[in-house]
C-alpha cells in the first residue's frame, strides 16, 4: 500500500506538465450581467407597475413598451406635463434598452476563465481568474 502511494506521488511529480495543464472555460462577464440586469430591472419595473395599475398591457413589453404606448400621443408636446410624460417614456425605453444591451453583452461576450492546477510540495495549487 505504501509502495503504491509512493509510486503515484512519484508519477505525479514526474509529470508536472500534464498536471499543470491549463484549462479554458468561458464564463459570463458578471460585471456586465449584473449592471445590465439592474438597469433593465429598475427601468422596467416602473412601466410594469403602471401596466398593472392601469391595465395597459403594452407597457409591460420590455424595452419597446413605453415606445408602443406613445401611439396614444397626439399634440402631446402642447403641454409641459405631457412633454414630460413623453420624455419620460422615451428615456425609460432608452434606459431599458441600455440595460438589455449590457446584459446581452455580458452573456454573449464571455470572459475566458483560465484555471491552472499546479503541484506544490504540500499538495496542489489551483489558480486562475474566475
Amino acid at each position: 500500500m505504501t509502495k503504491a502511494l509512493v509510486f503515484l506521488l512519484a508519477m505525479t511529480l514526474l509529470t508536472p506538465s500534464a498536471a499543470a495543464a491549463s484549462s479554458r472555460r468561458d464564463r459570463p462577464n458578471l460585471r456586465y450581467v449584473i449592471s445590465g440586469s439592474v438597469v433593465l430591472g429598475v427601468f422596467y419595473v416602473v412601466p410594469l407597475a403602471l401596466a398593472i395599475r392601469y391595465e395597459e398591457g403594452e407597457l409591460a413589453v420590455p424595452v419597446l413598451g413605453p415606445l408602443i404606448d406613445l401611439r396614444r400621443c397626439r399634440d402631446c408636446t402642447a403641454s409641459p406635463v405631457e412633454q414630460g410624460v413623453v420624455a419620460g417614456l422615451v428615456l425609460d425605453a432608452a434606459l431599458q434598452a441600455a440595460g438589455a444591451a449590457l446584459l446581452t453583452v455580458g452573456l454573449v461576450r464571455r470572459r475566458p476563465a483560465r484555471v491552472s492546477v499546479t503541484p506544490t510540495p504540500t499538495g496542489i495549487a489551483i489558480g486562475g481568474r474566475f
Partner: protein, 333 residues
C-alpha cells in the same frame, strides 16, 4: 422603491361598477379618462369629452352606441385629474364647441361631418364652454385667469371678443336664454349673474355653499341650483335677483358637476368621494327633498341626464359612463 411600486399599483385601483348600472365603455377609455363636463343634447345625445383619449364621444341614449369624434389631443398615460385633452363641450347652431386643455384651444366641430372646422387659442386653461345663442358667442371659463373669455363667431371661426373679470371664480357656467343671463359661481359660496349683451355682472348672491362647484338651471321656473363640494344642494330664484330659496344637505361628498332633469324635476348630485349620487326632488315652490341615492364609483364627479329618466355618470378610472335609471317618480311643479 417597493413602497412606491405598491402605491402605483394599488392606489386608485379600478372599482367595479355598482349593481344595476349599465356600463358604456368609451373608445380608448383605458387607462382612464379625466372627465369633467358632460352634456345632453336632444339631437346628439350624451356628449362626453374624452379627455386623454383624444375623442369627443357621442352616446346615443336609445342604443347606447358610441360615436367618437377623434380630433383632440391624446395622451399615453392617465394620472387622474382632468387636465388632459377635451374636457368641455356645448352645442349650438349645428356645431359642437369643444375646449382642449392640452392644446389650450377652442375647437368648432361640424356636427354633421364630425370634423373640426375651426380652432382658436384660449387665453388660459379652459374649464367650461357654453354657446350663447342670442349673441352667437361662445363663452369659456378660465379659472386660472379668474375670467370668462368671450369669442364671437365669424362664420365658424371663433374670434376673441372680450374677457370678463370674475375675481374669485369662475366655476361652472350656465346660460339662461330666457333672461339673457349667464350664471357662474365664485369658489367661496357665491353666484354671479352676467348680462350676455353688455357682459356686465348685474347681480351677485350667496349660494349657500362653502365650496361652490356645479351649476344647473330650471330655465322655465327660474330656479338656479348649486352643488356644494361639502355635500349640499341649494336653490336660488333668478327671477328675484338670486333670492336663496332652500339648501339641503345630501349624503354625497365631493360634489362637482351636477345636472337637472326638467322632465322629472330631479336634481342629480354625484359625490366623488363617497361614490354616492344624491337624487333630489324639486317641488313646485323650489323646495328640495332627497328622493333617493344611487351607488356610483369613487371619483364619479360628473353627470348628465337624458330625456328618458336616466343619469349618465362618469367613471374616470375605467374610462366608462355608468347609466343609472332614476326610479323615483316626478317631483312637484
Amino acid at each position: 422603491m417597493l413602497t412606491a411600486l405598491f402605491a402605483i399599483t394599488t392606489l386608485g385601483c379600478r372599482a367595479s361598477p355598482p349593481p344595476g348600472a349599465t356600463v358604456v365603455p368609451l373608445p380608448d377609455g383605458r387607462p382612464g379618462i379625466g372627465f369633467d363636463d358632460l352634456r345632453f343634447s336632444p339631437t346628439y345625445g350624451i356628449l362626453a369629452p374624452g379627455g386623454r383619449s383624444g375623442k369627443l364621444d357621442l352616446v346615443d341614449p336609445a342604443t347606447l352606441s358610441v360615436t367618437a369624434i377623434d380630433s383632440f389631443s391624446m395622451a399615453p398615460l392617465y394620472f387622474g385629474g382632468h387636465d388632459q385633452g377635451a374636457t368641455s363641450v356645448d352645442v349650438g347652431g349645428g356645431f359642437l364647441f369643444v375646449t382642449d386643455r392640452t392644446t389650450l384651444k377652442l375647437a368648432v366641430v361640424d356636427a354633421t361631418k364630425k370634423q373640426v372646422v375651426a380652432t382658436a387659442p384660449v387665453s388660459a386653461s379652459p374649464d367650461y364652454v357654453r354657446y350663447v345663442p342670442h349673441t352667437n358667442e361662445v363663452w369659456v371659463t378660465e379659472p386660472d385667469a379668474s375670467q370668462l373669455e368671450v369669442f364671437s363667431l365669424a362664420g365658424v371661426q371663433p374670434m376673441h371678443a372680450a374677457a370678463i373679470a370674475t375675481p374669485g371664480g369662475p366655476e361652472s357656467l350656465v346660460i339662461d336664454t330666457m333672461r339673457d343671463r349667464a350664471y357662474t359661481h365664485l369658489w367661496a359660496g357665491a353666484t354671479i349673474s352676467i348680462d350676455v349683451h353688455t357682459r356686465a355682472i348685474v347681480a351677485q348672491w350667496s349660494n349657500g355653499c362653502t365650496d361652490s362647484r356645479g351649476i344647473a338651471l330650471d330655465q322655465a321656473r327660474g330656479l338656479l341650483f348649486a352643488g356644494c363640494a361639502e355635500g349640499r344642494g341649494t336653490v336660488a330664484d333668478v327671477t328675484h335677483g338670486g333670492m336663496p330659496l332652500v339648501t339641503l344637505d345630501v349624503p354625497a361628498r365631493g360634489i362637482d358637476v351636477i345636472d337637472y332633469s326638467p322632465m322629472l324635476g330631479h336634481l342629480y348630485l354625484p359625490g366623488a368621494s363617497n361614490a354616492t349620487m344624491a337624487i333630489v326632488g324639486v317641488d313646485a315652490a323650489g323646495a328640495l327633498s332627497l328622493v333617493g341615492t344611487a351607488p356610483t364609483v369613487k371619483g364619479a364627479h360628473c353627470v348628465a341626464v337624458d330625456d328618458r329618466g336616466r343619469a349618465f355618470v362618469c367613471d374616470p378610472a375605467n374610462g366608462d359612463l355608468l347609466v343609472i335609471r332614476d326610479p323615483s317618480p316626478r317631483s312637484g311643479g
